[in-house]
Symmetry: C2
Subunit: 119 residues, 2 copies
Amino acid sequence: MDKVNLVEKFTLFDDRWSPKIVGELNGQYVKLAKLKGEFVWHHHQAEDELFFVIRGRLTMRLPEKEIVIEEGEFVIVPRGVEHCPVAAEEVLVLLFEPKSTAHTGDVHTEMTVETLDWI
Amino acid sequence: MDKVNLVEKFTLFDDRWSPKIVGELNGQYVKLAKLKGEFVWHHHQAEDELFFVIRGRLTMRLPEKEIVIEEGEFVIVPRGVEHCPVAAEEVLVLLFEPKSTAHTGDVHTEMTVETLDWI
């Protein structure tokens, strides 16, 4: 059992929209990702998804509104809800979600990463 | 769906060793707690438990070693592992764990809180 330092882990990768696994518990993964630009609209059929902003600002577009998530804030997107993460500048996020979660949900695009790395 | 600001949430309570629920997803709770002093040795039979230090320093005593967790770091204590959180000064932590988790695990003491509040 070792601790995980987020700043250290974020130095280990530069690719965006490609979540890395940094922890596993109770059938869930803790992931880190660097995001910039606009992702794809998608939803997850059976998984709620938590986005916690570690550095920067993330905009979560939703069907009826958008939520701007600042450093030290999180949002939980419930299963079934369409969403599209957008970041004008690079944002560092921690994700918490079931191991089964595909990051582009029901949508398969060129941004889809099939296999996530542990770092 | 609303975002959660950790700093704001931490201003809403002062009691220590009494986790507050700030989110729910996939059968898990996100909780915040203020800790100072020494807790009780305990384990959780069926739940892995994540401790993420938001501010301060947390020492996790384990049977074979202790881990000092600083701001921006987390540790996952696997199910079944005896542990005792200790904090010389107040530490603010975020917890991820199944809804079923009792914070003193298999031990029942005067520190045990039976019902957790949502804040």
